[in-house]
Amino acid sequence: MQHYSGFGLFKHSLSHHENWQRAWRNPTPKKKYDVIIVGGGGHGLATAYYLAKQFGVTNVAVIEKGYLGGGNTARNTTIVRSNYLWDEAAHLYEHAMKLWEGLSQDLNYNVMFSQRGVLNLGHTLQDMRDIERRVNANRLNGVDGEVLDPQQIKEIVPHMDCSENTRYPIMGASWQPRGGVARHDAVAWGFARGADSHGVDLIQQTEVTDLIIEDGTVVGVKTNRYGDIKADRVGCVVAGNSSVLAKKAGFELPLESHPLQALVSEPIKPVLDTVVMSNHVHGYVSQSDKGDLVIGAGIDGYNGYGQRGSFPTIEHTVQAIVELFPMFSRVRMNRQWGGIVDTCPDACPIISDTPVKNLFFNCGWGTGGFKATPGSGNVFAASLAKGEMHELAKPFSMFRFHDGALIDEHGAAGVAH
């Protein structure tokens, strides 16, 4: 693999950037792998990367039905934070946060991770009680956080309407300075390039149409392009498509797939250098380095696989943003799209073994899994390498919905993300 550096950039500029090496190979799959990862989103690619790099399992294929990162990974609004309420979730997301902090160096790929801070606004007394509680819980878990009053918020975001003249005045906020944003497609590409350089085969444009199961044990996958491919272990990381694959394996998951939308505006001058989220008015916004406002909100209430969302949801989202930032009312929106998110009843993921032996699922990240990409891949890789769930993953078993040990993160997940 060609090492990326400032010097390399200079060298390639002399040949008009026409001689860059391909970032990864485009191999024909082998007949058999130690591990097959189904789904080439951020989580699947991160899993493959850590499997090969950290756990020495290099006979690995990632099978992706479209192109790498074409699912939710490059459709999200890129918010990264780790201020979740419960210990299990805080530990998992903080594990990811620590990996984010060294990720560009580790991958030798600039994922543009920008720790510009994340504000979660409170508009009611109950919001503020929940925020106090969550920030205290965070600090006990070693996750940075502060409770801010409207004056302090105003200093961080001068253009936001922090007055009392709004329908839902801002009463305070939680503030996680280490939170921020990252460039989502670079995350997929960085992990892909890293995995490939350690020998992982990235198989694109190939759909897994079925799982081959013998005597309750998975032994491979069926594909639409290369027929059957054998594997000792299979990890499914297919987000909104998880229920469909689980059904092929003969079981149900506690998931529902919903469209979630995002929209970006025309580029404008720098106006917002942090991330603002509000559960109560239900919207969130940040500004990309290009200058466009990146906006998102809620899911459509019904199940859907159409990768598009409904108009009432957009309207609702934009209302919330204009309530917070009246000056944005004249900004024009450029693009809008949807992704299919796999929502789980307790707003926490499923990282789990399954009723089928050697078959593992990493799903249920719903509206907020981008922030966990490196951590999710890391613990899932450890689990696949050993055939036994990693300590941080254990509480996220799919069987928690049988024994009742749910991890209710609706408060911290809130408006999601």
Partner: protein, 99 residues
């Protein structure tokens, strides 16, 4: 934007008047005390979530406030039929689809 026929009001109304309440035809176990943890957990949380034909419970929240069922394709979003609680759907998934 869906245009949904409410079988109670006998009228087409816009999506925003309605609220989707998830999978239809989920029967509450007759004797919850007799359920195993697995059975109870599956009743509460495990859902069909198909890509294709789905039977859903909807409520006309900003209208008559009554519940009814819809058969809808979750991929094309086409509404195949609307029917009242207690009735059975006439459009169902092909067997290939429900493998």
């Amino acid at each position: 934007m869906f245009h949904i026929y409410c079988p109670h009001c006998a009228e087409y109304r816009e999506e925003e008047e309605f609220h989707a309440s998830g999978q239809a035809h989920i029967a509450r176990p007759l004797d919850p005390e007799a359920c195993s943890d697995k059975e109870w957990g599956e009743y509460l949380y495990f859902r069909k979530n198909p890509r294709g034909i789905h039977h859903e419970l909807w409520v006309h929240a900003a209208g008559c406030r009554k519940f009814f069922n819809i058969t809808r394709d979750t991929q094309t979003y086409e509404i195949k039929e609307v029917y009242k609680i207690g009735e059975q759907p006439s459009v169902v998934a092909q067997s290939g689809n429900s493998k």
